[in-house]
Subunit: 131 residues, 2 copies
DNA sequence: ACATTTGTATTAACTCAATAATACAACTGG
DNA sequence: CCAGTTGTATTATTGAGTTAATACAAATGT
């Protein structure tokens, strides 16, 4: 599994792992039911402590992305499951709340936010370069 | 000026000050041109070190909310100015980009994001309790 | 003029999240 | 059955960010 980390990128290593695995799953490069590398294996590959990978896997499990089978390994869970989806929406809702609170502080109207969302989405569609 | 802080609320004191002053300005309770309390005065009122307030004021200046006149005090800047507004929109645009990137990772459609934004905004309108 | 008030700068202490070191517990599967 | 592999738990270290202590610089305004 191709995962690359930047140890001093400001964003925590465990978070980088979470993000990349989320992406691999969302893009279908990691299919439902597929087994992830063992914690120690990925830790050795990334040159980090197993605990760091363990934390990433724990968060992924909480988010409903993977399932851990105690001593049998970690597997990509069924993404279409309502639980997984509900969890995703919950996370996004939190982000949106923060965004709206900030917009209100800045005295920017809801309509404008909606407009910006659509505008930015369109921009991302065309320039498929950076992540 | 009514500012209240919760020293152990997780969110840094200087950030709390920034947020509250932003809110006071956005809501018009601090008018453009009005003078803010001197750094030391507010620091004493809040029982914190002057540096903490100084940092808050510095961030507010960077955000275009206030202007500092070296030895003459700190004043609310003209919020209606296109520059200040452009800056605000720029910040929000960054937030939105991050949100959309995350939504894409999570395989949640744009339409749903727009729906959530409106939904959450409505929710915030009704329950006027928490910030 | 110059005492006072303004914001600024530097350094140190503290706090907390992230990571590592190490040891543990439990199931698999030959 | 038991050696090897899985995830787990506990504690220590590190490092970045926040706050404080203290001293500085500059302009006001009477």
């Amino acid at each position: 599994m191709q995962i690359h980390i930047s140890p001093h990128d400001g964003v925590p290593i465990y978070q980088q792992v979470v993000n990349q695995i989320k992406y691999l799953v969302a893009s279908g490069r990691l299919a439902a039911g597929e087994e992830l590398p063992a914690i120690r294996v990925l830790a050795e590959q990334l040159l980090v402590n197993p605990n760091t990978v363990a934390r990433a896997y724990r968060e992924l499990e909480t988010a409903g992305i993977v399932e851990k089978r105690r001593t049998a390994g970690t597997y990509v869970s069924d993404q279409g499951s309502p639980l997984a989806r509900r969890e995703r929406v919950k996370i996004l809702t939190g982000r949106i709340d923060a965004l709206l609170a900030e917009a209100r502080h800045m005295d920017v109207a809801l309509e404008e936010i909606v407009k910006l969302v659509q505008q930015r989405h369109a921009a991302m569609q065309s320039t498929r370069n950076e992540e």
